[in-house]
Symmetry: C2
Subunit: 625 residues, 2 copies
């Protein structure tokens, strides 16, 4: 099934409108999705306080009757008509501005528009923020407020605007961060990011925007170059930026005079649609896209395969991973060859036990490895889920026959007469140990000969400090727990950025021949922030060594290409922590084991202290029985 | 009624106990209130992990049968038996320590002790904090954990302990702050503060301890000097410190060898009791003490005298203020003399209207002022509360006669035929305008002649950044609102400190002759932190100028002595903010007025951003009708 190629959502933004109906027709004729325009026209300009109410018999704007309700909603996004300086030092200017802004906001609600764009020019935004916050808290109004900021403002711009002495932390991102914090990270607040001629020198700063709730990228026509045929095109750097944001499902906006007038405004739309089409062709046909599309940034509670029995559908999804089982097959094949030399291969039999066999994919991989290497094997498939046992028995009767013995038991409770040369399992969760692979394999290693091989023989967890307004908002809305910020979530991290690269946290190896096995762990890690950021939590990942150097990984820097079985984990913080560039971020993680359950606790102690999350596993734990 | 002189609560702390029953008898014989001692004896020392369980047949400590349950509870506070290094770099040391500590904590719960003292020696406390936090979260255990820290550690001490390169922020207060933050500011966590020979050079740092939940001050006997008669006494500096903490109702603890052995241990107790007695004699007999004792740090919701009618008891308390009405009398007297010269005093009558007369204290003050100055007055008492009108009418018939006319109306709705020379009111709340004095007086100023006098003619609010673990915890527990941190509270701030001095916020003047009166206000204030601190909120105060320089004030730096009618206001923050010494604390306050109500909103934007509290007055507002 080939995915359909979709059309880009791209709006046209105009500074002024004479006849709104004509303007929309023009927008649609030029193929744009909708129109962005000021709702108020300068001819209706009023002085609210100083001038008294002398204009009160004049309308404040054009009539809502100019369009029908459906048309307003679908084809118009409002833009603030002028810069109201709600934070002027001058009290009268401030009061007038707040009244003017409030009037526009009321009109947006009256027209029932979905979005309203409000630009900010610097970090003095407290009174603006208060006015917006009061509107965002109003449950009757439903529109989103999109804060418009330039994505970058270099020193030159700042000097031109007469702010020679601005501190380094006064960047558009800091303005935005202040706005969203003051407004209690409202989900009705989004970003309209204005693409600038210069991009940040530091690529990390571009990534940081990617961790914000960008709803629109506004592209001024002045950024477009002209190609040999006279058509508008963007520079390579801008293209790269657009490509990155295409995965966020946002809208684009073309704004400014037509600088390629002989070609018509529609050419700008067509160019963006061309980029979108190419993006889809190169991405939407991949296996990863097929399996992961739609899961971006959605929180899932981690599986509890030991305590609960997995459903058929879950098995089916995992079995489709094209990489994982190829790696397992390779690992088993290499182990078989190390175990039995070419000379012995007709005489010596290798006992392979697959513990947690599920619906049999590892059994298949092991049989294939045996066939490929021409080794004789005796296979046991151990599985505790009676529903999966049914599948295995059907496979045995239809396909495998005597080569495979099915054992319907918890691996920790089976006492066979012979031991395994190779113990194969796939019990790993998003950070490796979180589905209790250590406890299961420790319990099952009795089954292994003293010189036997465990596949995998090692797995490690990794974590990275993460900023993500989107995921933090989702956690806040989660109703599954009393303390939703104390549970880790499995989530395909998309609308996020890593404030520093991931680091190694915990390690488990098998078989574990320690006299007294202790699977409690404590780790303290120091990260260094690559840029000013808001720390919302930690991404969790793992890698696993199956046999020798055959491995699988979902760790960002070593991710196995196209492997789709695992999404990362996200460990939230109760309260976001403000981070300055180069700050040390110190985090402590505990893996705690009691007789009944396993859980994690975590806290931050630099640059400031958080609470210890999930004490006693009160919110999240994984059952051992 | 003279208040009873109470005995100081002072415990004896000993490093080791042979026979617990004897030790308690000795404690009581020496007049101490209870005994602090280790629960575990070194002879029961066990190695938990490395040494295996070889000691498991030995008891871990003395038997609980040594005392009866009541005795354990009333006479014993446990002290950790040794320093368990739960945060050692060495994994085995760490694990052993955590097991040892957990064992002691379980035994404390078993004995049902009320308090358990745990010393910390530096800021590496994450594993200790996690262990304690897990116990604090356990709802079955009820004991308090008192973290023992030295109140000061100068550079010399630090160097002795081999930490020459410690950063400046690594003080005992920072260790404690880390502990309480990691443990989610648990109300079961308190402080056992150890008095040190050297006190902090900076007196502000002593104040900062005063804002923490200090439950005990431990005084080593080595700090005592010997007076001429051979008795133990403390230095002036230490006495001053003790005196400050006496208002917190904490326990004192004497610890260490008897250095005045010819006098017996009881002399230490007697000295502290002597300090306590003196403290009580100089404080508990004051008027302020009489009216405020018991209200310290208790949250009250602000009165709404405009919307609700006050109760008789409330009037009674306010009428007892010995200062307020004396100042009003003085103000009225001065105004009368300015209005009517000595020559005119027999001929010219002054019309005085008391708006919001309540049960008549201002009427009495005005009559007294007229008598004192021998001026002729015509008095009107305007009051909207029908119950208070009853009192006024009774007073008129029994006492005042024709001199006073009673008007049973809202001052905003009364239209008399003559106007007032002097309009007297007492409509002020803890920050001046919060009981809607501005709106009431603006509505009543029609009653005043063009050249008439308003008493008061001005009031101003002041705020100061405040640290108070105690009040923050109280706010968190408040069940009156969905967002308890968004409401201001009236509270006698005791267990708190100001991170910087108060600053002027809003001002109102009367009569207000502006063409269009606007009682909305916006203010932005910058404070500078005097020390590292945790910002929990803002204290709110007011001063009021009645007439010329006759004023009343509850502002810390100008508080009218002995005036008890108002407690300060506390504006909390949703989340405490960490502050470094010299940080700029920027706060924004809004007074917002709609047709129905008045409310405040506030936020912090430096050193980091808070949310905007109380948007639209969703949690707290004052009704105009």
């Amino acid at each position: 099934m080939t995915p359909t190629i979709k059309t880009v959502r791209c709006a046209l933004s105009v500074p002024t409108v004479v006849d709104i109906s004509d303007a929309i027709n023009n927008t649609i004729d030029n193929k744009f999705t909708y129109l962005i325009c000021p709702l108020f026209h300068p001819r209706f300009k009023r002085e609210h306080i100083a001038g008294g109410l002398k204009h009160q018999e004049l309308p404040m704007s054009r009539s809502d009757l100019d369009l029908n309700a459906e048309c307003w909603q679908n084809y118009v996004v409002g833009h603030l008509s002028k810069f109201y300086n709600c934070d002027s030092e001058d009290e009268m200017t401030r009061k007038n501005a707040i009244i003017g802004l409030s009037e526009e906001l009321r009109f947006v609600a009256h027209l029932n528009l979905t979005n309203f764009v409000i630009p900010i020019r610097n970090g003095n935004i407290e009174n603006l923020a208060r006015t917006l916050n009061n509107n965002l808290m109003n449950k009757l109004a439903l529109y989103n407020i999109l804060i418009r900021v330039p994505m970058h403002m270099d020193r030159l711009n700042i000097e031109i605007e007469n702010f020679p002495a601005r501190p380094k932390c006064d960047t558009p991102w800091n303005w935005w961060q202040k706005m969203r914090t003051l407004c209690e990270e409202s989900t009705r607040l989004g970003l309209a990011l204005e693409l600038t001629n210069d991009l940040p020198e530091d690529e990390e700063e571009i990534h940081r925007w990617f961790a914000e709730p960008v709803r629109m990228v506004i592209i001024p026509t002045s950024l477009f170059l002209t190609n040999k045929s006279g058509f508008p095109v963007l520079s390579k750097a801008h293209q790269k930026f657009i490509n990155k944001f295409l995965s966020l499902d946002i809208d684009f906006v073309i704004e400014g005079a037509n600088r390629h007038s002989e070609k018509g405004m529609s050419k700008y739309f067509e160019y963006l649609n061309f980029l979108y089409k190419n993006y889809q062709l190169s991405n939407n046909t991949t296996n990863t896209y097929k399996f992961t599309k739609g899961y971006e940034d959605c929180l899932q509670n981690p599986l509890q395969p030991l305590m609960d029995n997995l459903e058929s559908q879950v098995y089916e999804v995992f079995e489709k991973d094209p990489i994982k089982y190829a790696q397992y097959k390779k690992a088993v094949a290499e182990a078989l060859c190390d175990r039995v030399s070419d000379e012995e291969k007709t005489s010596k039999e290798t006992v392979i036990m697959v513990v947690g066999a599920g619906r049999g994919p590892l059994v298949k991989a092991a049989m294939q490895a045996a066939a490929d290497t021409e080794r004789k094997v005796k296979l046991f498939a151990i599985e505790k889920n009676p529903n999966a046992i049914n599948t295995l028995l059907n496979l045995k009767h239809s396909l495998w026959g005597d080569k495979v013995t099915i054992i319907a038991k918890d691996m920790r409770d089976w006492y066979p007469t012979e031991k395994a040369d190779i113990l194969v399992s796939e019990l790993l969760g998003s950070i490796g140990d979180n589905e209790l692979s250590p406890e299961c394999l420790d319990g099952a290693q009795r089954l292994l000969k003293d010189d036997g091989i465990s596949i995998p023989y090692r797995y490690r967890s990794f974590i990275a400090p993460v900023q993500s307004y989107k995921i933090y908002s989702e956690v806040k809305r989660c109703k599954d727990y009393e303390h939703p910020h104390e549970a880790p979530y499995v989530v395909l991290l998309n609308n996020h950025c890593r404030i520093d690269d991931e680091k190694f946290l915990f390690e488990f190896t098998h078989p574990n021949r320690a006299e007294k096995i202790d699977n409690n762990r404590y780790g303290k890690l120091d990260f260094q922030a690559k840029f000013d950021a808001t720390l919302h939590g930690f991404g969790g990942y793992f890698d696993s060594h199956l046999y020798k150097d055959v491995d699988i990984s979902i760790t960002p820097s070593t991710h196995s290409p196209d492997m789709i079985s695992w999404f990362p984990m996200f460990f939230p913080l109760k309260n976001p922590i403000n981070i300055k560039k180069n700050d040390t971020i110190t985090v402590h993680f505990w893996r705690c084991v009691s007789s009944k359950q396993v859980w994690y606790e975590w806290c931050v102690t630099s640059p400031s202290n958080s609470v210890i999350h999930n004490p006693n596993g009160r919110t999240y734990w994984i059952g051992l029985h």
